[in-house]
């Protein structure tokens, strides 16, 4: 049996990893000696495959999200800009936990199609952490684009500049191209993406028998 470790603040949890024997995987946030935030994938599972799975998840966060390996701890990653980007990191955690591994998937292009409207959306880097949103679609898409920009705001704490296209910007002032490409399809329906996170988190809350009204 292992022991509880001081790992910092837990910021995300996958209670049952369907791709690795239902182990529980957590993401802990801590500070490196210089004060820079880093995140570490961790599992208390003693399953022999757990270590390989954490290797993969950390590698996938680097590959898909543009994070970099941090020497601070095993399975630790950080943003190259040194910022925390907490919401974006949580979202990235959800995305990488969906991957079966061990092969890393192809990178996402900076565009996404929307089946419902038939529109194709693009993000274009403007430098210094700013990205312009645009759409290939007939008609005026400005309202829709503002909604999507708001989705980036919710999912990754990005600032929204409605006048510029609209554009969204990371407060750190650094580019995160891979992260933006990863987030674009989720930003098309940010509410569903956030509901997905909440429904995983809501499992395992005991309900008193008198308050159970769902059929079971």
């Amino acid at each position: 049996m292992g022991h509880v470790l001081e790992l910092g603040r837990r910021v995300a949890l996958q209670p049952m990893d369907a791709h690795c024997h239902d182990i529980t995987v957590a993401l802990y946030r801590d500070l490196a000696p210089g004060g820079t935030p880093f995140y570490a994938f961790h599992s208390y599972s003693c399953h022999p495959d757990a270590g390989l799975r954490l290797d993969f998840l950390a590698a996938a966060a680097c590959h898909l999200g543009g994070m970099v390996a941090s020497g601070a701890r095993a399975h630790a990653v950080a943003w190259p800009c040194g910022a925390a980007h907490l919401s974006a990191t949580r979202r990235l955690f959800v995305e990488v936990c969906k991957l079966a591994g061990p092969a890393l998937p192809a990178l996402r292009p900076p565009e996404a199609d929307e089946a419902r409207s038939g529109a194709r959306y693009h993000v274009e880097g403007l430098g210094a952490g700013r990205y312009r949103l645009s759409a290939d679609a007939p008609g005026d898409m400005s309202v829709r684009l503002r909604t999507i920009a708001g989705g980036f705001g919710k999912l990754a704490e990005m600032a929204v500049d409605e006048a510029a296209g609209p554009a969204v910007a990371f407060p750190c002032g650094h580019d995160h191209d891979r992260l933006v490409a990863l987030l674009l399809p989720r930003a098309l329906n940010a509410r569903a993406a956030m509901r997905e996170e909440e429904s995983v988190a809501g499992r395992g809350v005991l309900v008193a028998p008198s308050a159970q009204n769902q059929p079971n």
């Binding site: 022991h3 837990r10 209670p15 499992r203 008193a208 028998p209 008198s210 079971n216």
Partner: protein, 359 residues
């Protein structure tokens, strides 16, 4: 003036606090589950097996003491062990969820349907608990308080009849309801005695006569006497657990002879202390869904302090914690208790307690 109290073991501390006697520091107590999915990994003991295999149950339960630093071990994570033995259909679920009784498939319609099976205490799902208590007692000796759990008749009736049918019965036919409770109370007693014999130091007794559904007056007329009978017939301290807003019936609960009441965060610590008026101990009441589950150690510590300042006798989560609760939030509870006492809070605590006992 309070005498300095020499250092106590966790077990001594918990038992003294349940008797409302002086303690070296306020005990950290979990009358209900503190199992989490991370602790399951750490102990290599997972739901649902940890509810059904004694060794697994013991391995997961002891992490409250060995890893979290609580003063208690409480192996009865679920509320369905004896209902399974009574014949209720159980959905055992998986690692990240609680087993539940399939209350849409009730097993009783009338008083006469209630039969206590001869294997109530030897059924695998009840025997699992008694065996886990024996394992824990062997492993931990007299160092730590081991708390068992036996469900009250009101909760058992929900499981056997279904919530809505039983509540309708309770409204329409109080006489019949009493007969149901009278029959089912023998389950509560028998299972409680079996756990005491196995080595339990105290028992949690959940009886979900919850605020919104059962009034204080209803509690006084139908449950108070029954609860007093449990306190009299079960020869260890009993910790009554009722979720929800209960401050209106705490004065009645305090008169049952129950050693303690495990109270919900819907009741403020100070008003709850006033309501029980020194007649029983209080255990609680760190909020689960908002604080322990969703916030950070700083907010947990703030709630611990509110309990300590109010003179709450044993501090812990208000109810079974969500399985995804973080370990650092749980460890914040004993840390905050120790910090408060080393900052001199303990002296105030004893003073407060005495004023209640004498007043």
């Amino acid at each position: 003036m309070s005498q300095p109290i020499s250092p106590m073991t966790s077990r001594q501390r918990v038992l003294a606090a349940l008797r409302r006697e002086p303690v070296d520091r306020t005990p950290v107590c979990n009358p209900t589950s503190v199992a989490t999915v991370e602790l399951m990994d750490l102990a290599d003991a997972f739901f649902p097996e940890a509810n059904r295999i004694p060794e697994k149950m013991a391995n997961l339960a002891e992490t409250s003491y060995t890893e979290l630093g609580f003063d208690t071990i409480m192996p009865v994570f679920s509320i369905i062990q004896e209902s399974s033995a009574l014949g209720c259909k159980i959905q055992w679920e998986q690692k990240d969820n609680w087993p539940t009784v399939k209350m849409r498939e009730p097993i009783w319609r009338d008083v006469e349907d209630i039969r206590i099976p001869p294997d109530l205490l030897t059924h695998p799902d009840t025997a699992c608990v008694t065996e886990a208590i024996r394992i824990l007692r062997r492993r931990h000796g007299d160092e730590v308080a081991i708390i068992g759990k036996t469900m009250g008749p009101w909760s058992l009736a929900y499981h056997g009849f279904g919530v809505e049918p039983f509540l309708l019965m309770a409204l329409d036919d109080p006489g019949k309801t009493m007969q149901v409770l009278e029959r089912l109370k023998e389950v509560t007693i028998a299972y409680g005695l079996a756990q005491i014999e196995a080595g339990a130091d105290a028992l949690t007794l959940p009886d979900h006569a919850t605020g919104d559904l059962v009034s204080a007056d209803y509690y006084r007329r139908f449950l108070k006497e029954l609860h007093a009978e449990f306190a009299a017939r079960l020869p260890v301290p009993i910790i009554l657990h009722i979720c929800g807003r209960t401050v209106d019936r705490m004065p009645y609960i305090a008169e049952t002879g129950m050693a303690a009441f495990h109270f919900d965060s819907k009741n403020r610590p100070d008003e709850s202390m006033a309501a029980v008026c020194g007649h029983c101990a209080l255990v609680g009441n760190i909020n689960n869904p908002e604080t322990l589950f969703a916030r950070d150690p700083e907010q947990v510590e703030a709630e611990v302090l509110a309990n300590l300042e109010a003179g709450i006798h044993l501090v812990g989560p208000e109810c079974a914690i969500p399985l995804q609760t973080s370990i650092e939030n749980l460890r914040a509870i004993p840390r905050a208790v120790r910090a408060w006492h080393s900052a001199g809070g303990g002296a105030r605590c004893h003073h407060h307690d005495h004023s209640h006992n004498n007043g």
